[in-house]
Symmetry: C2
DNA sequence: CAGTGGTCTAGACCACTGA
DNA sequence: CAGTGGTCTAGACCACTGC
């Protein structure tokens, strides 16, 4: 009854993944020919191809063109929510997430939040020097709800999170204990349709507040993840600026020249290095 | 004659992109129904769907399911080579790339390079403290070719690049003027099949060498991009550790809950902020 | 050369959307 | 309800791979 919710090609893809996990299709070996899979499962070739295309975009199989694709060690892509939510990510890597709320306030947006949430061209990029006068003369702009939290991993502070929500969603947070858990999960449970996000990753020096809250010196390196989250119809709902201590997290990006897998797999992990070492491959010998 | 190299669905996709660029299909509007496109181009529905699927994974159109997909402002994904090559990236953003070679040497690999290129489990992650003794007693491992370069944008130093190549490819570099241009382009011209790469992005403090070469204080923040590049058959060829000055580059990741676009679009850009501002959306009001 | 995946067609049924 | 995309089938031809 309820098992029919998943389309046939999806069930095929799942079966294929299972066989790879079980070792029935060992990594490095070739996948059976499409024609053979058609016979075995008694399905059309199009359906088999759709299932294989799924595995291909997942990076589970590679190659083809005249020969069978080959099974690859799977660099499982993280789901949207795992990539988006600190709490969910922490649990994925087997750590205990936590948070200490520094501030929860309703007020006029800062310059960056105003630009991202309301499209105000007030940023320095637009030339004008406006927008920095938060709480200034008037309130032409809608207000936002600002949340500042220190995020913890096994009780240790590892990240400073500064978020601005559009008022419609942000007001829900005054009914929520922001020390309790995931805002992302809470907003979803309240029906907020968080659908897509864009992240900007770079490195910054710790400012005074971050330094104090994270227990490092001002000016020391932090990994910054700024993100804008939007609903299904494209309305920006959240602007957040998350600053991580170095060594806590890294973003891994998998890329290929394969035209059939045009995008990238992105993963966040907790180990600081590919294999653990953080020294340089090539540095002065003398 | 030669125009037939591109499959029909590919030409359709190109035509669709053109119409969007021309404004014939304005952003925000709905794409014509599949059935109508079938009639207009006199092609099968499967072909139209394949073309639309391409645009969907590119993020050019979104939505569907009972209603026509909608045109979205295109966040063009960068190609593998643009994402991979500093020179190509610099030209994309309209700047002039440059480089100053600090060192070109053949020798035993460092710990991280040995781990990534030869699978040596010598890193601290494996527990043992070996691998740090570069140039030590013996040469059980194959040697590598190390290249250290300062990369320039319009003549200004912005990145320190420390790369180790497998010997087979690296030896080609002794026939190349590493001050002249892109090693990536050179190796490709020599037939080296650079096919896929994995990047690890994090933040680090500048060490003494980086500080001196980039003209910053030791301990100041750098954005680090470590990458392993492999050939088509999966053999690792290059391990590189690139450290950028803050504000020079940022990595942007586009993510969706849409099951049909499971992956991410990754872009590198030169502006430091989404809209230019680098101040915080929410910081202490008092 | 035989076998493989890449492309394309024509037609069918279903699930979802919105009036 | 009519129209849309999502799924699935059956069959065909071609381009590429490797023997």
């Amino acid at each position: 009854m309820s098992t029919r919710r998943i389309p046939l090609h999806g069930r095929l893809a799942e079966e294929f993944r299972q066989r790879i996990a079980d070792g029935a299709w060992p990594a490095g070996s070739a996948v059976p020919a499409e024609a053979e899979l058609c016979r075995e499962f008694d399905v059309s070739r199009g359906t088999v191809r759709q299932a294989l295309a799924t595995l291909r975009t997942e990076g589970v199989i590679v190659g083809g063109q005249g020969k069978s694709p080959v099974v690859r060690q799977a660099p499982t892509t993280q789901s949207f929510s795992t990539f988006h939510s600190f709490s969910e990510w922490a649990e994925l890597i087997g750590r205990t997430p936590g948070q200490r709320t520094v501030e929860l306030a309703r007020r006029a947006p800062g310059a960056a939040a105003a630009a991202e949430l309301f499209g105000v061209p007030a940023g320095p990029a637009a030339g004008a020097g406006t927008g920095a006068d938060r709480g200034g003369p008037l309130g032409a702009l809608p207000q936002v709800v600002d949340v500042v939290r220190v995020r913890l991993l096994d009780g240790e502070p590892v990240m400073l999170e500064r978020t601005s929500f559009a008022l419609e969603e942000g007001r829900l947070l005054f009914d929520f204990d922001t020390d309790a858990g995931s805002i992302f999960a809470y907003l979803q449970s309240r029906g907020v349709d968080l659908y897509s996000a864009r992240h900007y990753i770079d490195a910054v020096a710790a400012d005074a507040e971050a330094a104090e809250l994270l227990g490092v010196d001002a000016g020391s390196p932090l990994l910054r993840d700024r993100r804008i989250t939007s609903t299904r119809d494209g309305r920006p709902v959240e602007y957040s600026e998350d600053c991580y201590l170095p060594g806590v997290i890294n973003f891994s990006i998998d890329n290929t020249m394969d035209q059939r897998a045009p995008l990238s797999r992105v993963t966040t992990s907790s180990t600081t290095a590919p294999t653990g070492a953080s020294d340089h491959p090539a540095s002065r010998a003398g």
